[in-house]
């Protein structure tokens, strides 16, 4: 890997003062999601934005997938919780096959991919015999993010693969990466539920937890694309040795990382020209934006919302370099009571109700 693939991050160079939203963002637009008694989103566990649709996965509360058009109008919702054909016991990821216009739900308990059409009707199911936290089609292949589970059928030379590219048969491993020595319990290492970013039709991007490498996945291979270089504060072998200690817990590991000022990065989203991620050092959380074109990095531990006074820049999806954040309708409803100068349009302010479905706040960056 040559130097152009390294993103140098020194927390000491982060902005020392609160950064105004208006200095990073050109604007925020809003997509209120339609609300009716049969279309109630519990929690946004994953937001998927595509050319024509918005999908929300609500794993725990309604155990449903909600599909809307790009204006937030209901297309369909789907609750197929169950043990039968076309049903999921535990929905742990959703994906969209744009070419076939199919919604794909991954059930990690049944180890199946379930396919539905754009009316929410079940089409077919396929077995995927691997433990995976995330599954995403790339071309006719399937990318898996496996976390640190005991995936013995992805074991090679005594090590376990964290990432795998599965062939069109959904069985054959064609490429694998980010090997770790031994499975680690979720009570020992925390998970940020990292996800694949769809950079384009044939390119996915992901940064696994507890590592500093960003991987790109194509229909033919997985390769390291960037290193998030924190200098002396990289999470490395020292951290993994600590996980092997007796009675290791995530709390103890956090304390260890904080003591050494190790930097953990997570919530990584990659667009065509920009990358967003969060990193944490000694308990302080920094937001970082990186321009792939100019190689510039913006990072700050604190923001000041001088635009709409209520949206939090906490992206849950990226689409064409726009960063999508979830804004609770209740928060917007409450500011109606106060004389706040907000940039949220009147047509939203006038109609919002306290328990409406969330509003998506879409942040557009100022080029840098």
């Amino acid at each position: 890997m040559d130097s152009k693939d390294i993103i140098n991050i020194d927390p000491n160079t982060a902005s020392k003062v609160r950064v105004n939203y208006s200095s990073w963002f050109d604007g925020i637009s809003y997509i209120p999601l339609q609300t009716d008694s049969n279309f109630l989103v519990g929690k946004v566990d994953k937001l998927l934005v595509t050319d024509d649709y918005i999908f929300i996965m609500d794993r725990k509360i309604s155990r449903s997938v909600f599909c809307m058009d790009k204006e937030g109008h209901k297309v369909f919702s789907l609750n197929k919780s169950g043990k039968g054909r076309g049903e999921y016991v535990s929905m742990n990821d959703i994906a969209f096959d744009a070419a076939k216009k199919e919604l794909i739900i991954h059930c990690d308990i049944r180890k199946k991919l379930l396919y539905y059409n754009m009316h929410g009707a079940f089409l077919r199911e396929e077995s995927v015999p691997y433990e995976a936290s995330r599954t995403q089609p790339v071309g006719d292949h399937l990318a898996l993010y496996c976390g640190f589970d005991d995936n013995s059928n992805l074991k090679e030379s005594g090590k376990f693969a964290n990432l795998a590219l599965i062939g069109a048969d959904k069985q054959t491993v064609e490429s694998a990466a980010e090997y770790f020595e031994a499975p680690v319990l979720k009570t020992v290492v925390w998970t940020s539920e990292c996800q694949f970013s769809q950079v384009n039709d044939t390119l996915l991007s992901i940064k696994p937890d507890h590592c500093n490498t960003v991987y790109h996945v194509t229909p033919t291979t997985i390769y390291p694309a960037y290193t998030l270089d924190f200098g002396d504060y990289m999470v490395d072998g020292r951290y993994w040795e600590k996980t092997k200690e007796k009675n290791a817990t995530s709390k103890k590991l956090d304390a260890y990382s904080n003591n050494l000022k190790l930097c953990e990065s997570f919530r990584y989203f990659e667009g065509n020209d920009y990358i967003f991620f969060v990193y944490r050092q000694a308990g302080v959380v920094y937001n970082a934006l990186y321009s792939k074109k100019t190689k510039r990095l913006l990072h700050t531990p604190t923001f000041q919302n001088d635009m709409d006074m209520v949206s939090l820049f906490r992206p849950v999806a990226v689409y064409r370099d726009k960063f999508y954040c979830v804004l609770e309708a209740g928060d917007v409803y409450r500011i109606k009571k106060y004389p706040v100068n907000t940039s949220i349009p009147n047509e939203i302010m006038d109609h919002v109700q306290e328990f409406d479905n969330p509003i998506l706040a879409v942040f557009t960056l100022k080029p840098f």
Partner: protein
Amino acid sequence: MLLLVLNIVILIKHKENKEESQLLFEQYNEVSAKGIMLKQQGAFQQAAEAVVLPDMELKSPKDNSRIKLSSLLKDGHPKLFFRFRETDCDACVQHSLDLIKEAANRIPGEDIIILSGYKNVRQFYAYTKTQKLSTYNIEDQSLPLDTQEQPYFFIIADHARIQNVFVPLKGDKGYTADYLSMMKNKYWHLHQHHSH
């Protein structure tokens, strides 16, 4: 040649031993984590026994109405309660709800009550859309036992006095199934006339 074969055998043995000790280490960690959890839960269960619940207001999913806890208890039948909040361990909540659904074949459905704790009313409605069991939300108040930040079961068979408190153990469905079976035998074996 013999030396080479001997070395290979030693290497294979070493690898096997290493894998075995790694396995033993993982098992030890799992057992010891379970032990700590059981100790904590035992203390919590002891402290919670016989606590009397206040007659709190519960939000019903029907017509946005509210009811009093006492109205659920007035028929005098024992009730199995399952309490969870949105921040609780999801795996524990899900496996408990799955087992409750199975238990509903053996315990009369009207004697099983879910007490959810969603701060956001939309989330409560979204949740109840998926449920067939009686579910009520406690919005603003906490129950005296909520301090553990874990889901739990309890029985009310005598006024509003909590009995047989049980905290599910993460990843151990059998432990919860045993509890539900014992409660069924204890409180509902003489109440077959309730059964559906």
